[in-house]
Amino acid sequence: MSIIEKQKKEVTIRFAGDSGDGIQLTGSQFTSTTALSGNDLSTFPDYPAEIRAPAGTVAGVSGFQIHFGSKAIHTPGDMCDVLVVMNAAALKANLKFLKPGGIIIANTDGFGKKDLSLARFAPTDTPIKDAKRSGYIVIEIDVTKMTRESLKDTGLPLKDVDRSKNMFVLGVLYWLYSRPLDPTIQFLTRKFAKKPEIAEANIKALNDGFTYAIATELFSERYSVDAAPIEPGTYRNITGNDAIVLGIAAVAKRSEIPVFLGSYPITPASEILQGLSGLKNFGVTTFQAEDEIAAIASAIGASFGGSLGITTSSGPGIALKGEAIGLATMLELPLVIVNVQRAGPSTGLPTKTEQSDLLQAFYGRAGEAPVAILSASSPADCFEVTYEACRIAVEHMIPVMLLTDGYIANGAEPWRLPKIGDLKPIDPRYEKDRENGQDATPFLPYKRDENLVRPWAIPGTKGLAHRIGGLEKEHETGNISYDPDNHQKMTEMREKKRDIIANFIPDQEMDEGSETGKLLVLGWGSTYGSIKSAVFEAREEGLDVSSLHLRYLNPFPKNLEKLLNGFDKILVPEINRGQLSKILRDRYLLPVEGFNRVRGVPLTVSELKEKIVQMYNS
């Protein structure tokens, strides 16, 4: 049988197996190799909700999806071309993600009686046969047997031998997609530097998987995917949470403002606290507080002391911070609040994604308590947005809410390393010592500059001793004031100060298409990839659709209204029940239409494209 070599423009592969099967590692190795091959790519890990569900059960299935191509890639892919399953539960949980006629690579050893039963198949079920019957191409490999065969001479205990199964499978995949083995071989050598016998075994399994694919003519086709036209530069792969960690470290180093993170662990935000707690030598202090309220309160205390206070959490934890955010709006100190949104009200679906805390970000506090709001649109974008959020907080003496979500937080994509020198400087409003504290004109802690920003007068500074608090403050002096007109004035000033930020952010740019037209697709946050891809596809089909994606949610860029008015129809896809839609409808009185799904998962490109076409043609 001769093998047909095919070029592919894009491919999606999904690895799935038991949590113990090393799926995430397999996926990330495939990712590295793919990146080094010059493809554009996007990945998403699909962790089980349970910490460690019983082996072999559906609850215990771990997945990893990678979408790569010779063109620009913006999502991990709706459906996959190849599904790798290490056991019956993995097949059960993931078949729904495979395209019709797609390839299943199945580890037959994971389909024994016990596996079927653990996966809650009936003993008489034949899932592999059924899949074939449904038109999928099923490649059956007894991976366990083959790996044991491969490593039988290593003298390693069976437990360790079996741990190399994933490398055997990876070898097969590398052959199928014409990838080099070298990067993974180097990785394994590094990783197991202290256990060379393990490194060797893994490398052997990888090689043998590769040759097995050739020797047994498992496949009738073999694919290659050319390098994508990617902006030149040095890249690394990064998750959203890691990018936030780096963004904060960059702020600390670039601005020389000490950074203080007060946080309390919560899924899916914990990695930010975890990452920063390892960066003590970067001018970042982390404090794991007793709860979310203490977390933000400690950050406010630190900001009062001249640090940039940051707090990170997810929806339910952010809800607890509402009162303290209100305090911060009154104190007019820098503060960054990161909300890595998750699905559902209350505990909801903590490991799933959603964008339903936007209205909470706008309005989730008592009284008129304006904050600035930014959002990140992809894992790599988190770096720059975090930096921006910090810059705005410091330069405008205001709480800034930064929204990401579980999908961005855990998803990874290539990130072009920024030049450190290109990072905007950050200019804190520290007020200086007044040597003649006693006699000088009294210090006015709430005297504002032309942008309504008050000075940052931190303890230790001579002559500036003053008291601030949550009671309404008199204009300029900051003394308590119950005066009706003063309250009106201060309320307006706090709002205006937030709105003035619009002068310090870039104009909104179009993402796809022209600045006027029939249909604009407008998004924010993690729907970026889906929207971009769907609009791109629609445009390829000849529809004159445009799209733009908001990073600055409050205030909006100054030219937004103009852009919106340039379109007949506006579609706002969101993973919520229409929260940005509400804001836009109120603000601009435009009949924007929502495309809203709350299924705990990203919007798929196909459903979105369908909606775009339908709306375009209606």
Binding site: Y235, N281, F282, A324, A465
Partner: protein
């Protein structure tokens, strides 16, 4: 931060006096409120700290007591209800060079703020906590608080409170406090000593101050403040000294095993040598002292101790944080942003 000063023990602008620590804000407590004396004593203390006013910060929650920072000519923050310990924790970790004071009430500290208080205590930040205990919510006009005795009739307990109250110092020791002490507004001299001791302690010093709310809970502490009663109800602790009380130190407290009992020194049966000798470093005995918590409105009860119950040396939280940062820098060097951003694995796309 260029403006950050190291506390150097010698004020740079001459010899400060109490009045140099009084702000220009009108004091807005009810006439006769116990808060006034405490304010005065704190202002009296300030010059003794040997610090410039700008290196001192008062942080408060919400309550009558919590308005305190407004009246101090230092840096100050009037926070939100119950959260002063958490605000102060962030401030102190970020700025270990500052002298940080938390002023709080029994409601602020022990009701809504209870969790932050116990966590601050176990962490042992070098913060001075002044708990103004008036056994009532003053600012909201007279509801019972977590220190109000059972049976107290207030606006929210018209038939008497059914809550059994906290013993604040016992709670603090249970939470692993390194320093607990008690004073009262009506004994300003002793209060001054206690404030000074609080300031000296390295670690969270938890000073409970009995404070009379003349409007909503007048006389709550009269057993300890009334001239006619106080001799027999209050016991002043001195480190290394026996537990004595009563007019002319007529009475003492001894320990029968772990059970404290009152003995009459005039009876001839007991001498000072038989008495419980106070040891500020003994956690277990400090606990037993907190258990001297009888209702002293009737006679023959164990006296209520005032003074320093416990003063234990233990590293402060911010010191440990500082050490870890120093160790990290020592080990890894000042963080290199370039290499941090680069991470472990990169690839380069050529133009």
């Amino acid at each position: 931060m260029s403006t950050q000063k190291t506390v150097n023990g010698s004020p740079t602008n001459g010899n400060l006096q109490a009045k140099d620590f009084a702000s220009d804000q009108e004091v807005r407590w009810c006439p006769g409120c116990g808060d006034y004396t405490i304010l005065k004593q704190v202002q009296n203390l300030m010059p003794k700290l040997g610090l410039d006013p700008e290196n001192i910060v008062f942080v408060a929650g919400i309550g009558c007591s919590s308005r305190f920072p407004y009246y101090m000519k230092t840096y100050g923050m009037h926070g939100i209800h119950g959260r002063a310990p958490a605000i102060a924790t962030g401030l102190k970790v970020a700025r270990p060079d500052l002298s940080v004071w938390v002023v709080t009430g029994d409601g602020d500290a022990l009701s809504i703020g209870g969790n932050h208080v116990i966590h601050m205590l176990r962490r042992n930040l070098d913060i001075n906590v002044l708990l103004f205990n008036n056994e009532i919510y003053g600012l909201t006009k007279g509801q019972y608080s977590p220190t109000s005795p059972r049976g107290q009739v207030t606006k929210t307990s018209p038939a008497g409170s059914v809550d059994s109250p906290f013993n604040p110092l016992a709670l603090a020791i249970g939470a692993n406090a390194s320093y607990v002490a008690r004073a009262m507004d009506r004994d300003p001299k002793h209060l001054q000593i206690m404030l000074e001791r609080s300031a000296q302690h390295k670690g969270t010093s938890f000073l409970e101050i009995y404070q009379n709310c003349i409007v909503f809970n007048d006389g709550a502490f009269s057993p300890y403040t009334d001239k006619t009663q106080r001799d027999n109800t209050s016991l002043y602790l001195e480190n290394g000294q026996p537990l004595l009380f009563g007019a002319d130190d007529a009475f003492g407290v001894r320990l029968d095993g772990c059970r404290p009992e009152i003995v009459d020194l005039r009876s001839g049966k007991w001498s000072k040598d038989d008495l419980w000798i106070h040891d500020e470093q003994d956690r277990n005995k400090a606990w037993l002292l907190t258990a001297l918590f009888d209702d002293n409105s009737s006679e023959g009860k164990l006296p209520r101790p005032f003074g320093v119950f416990l003063a234990e040396d233990r590293p402060t939280y911010e010191e440990l944080v500082k050490q870890q940062i120093a160790a990290a820098i020592e080990r890894k060097g000042e963080g290199d942003l370039e290499s941090l951003l680069t991470g472990e694995e990169t690839w380069t796309v050529k133009g």
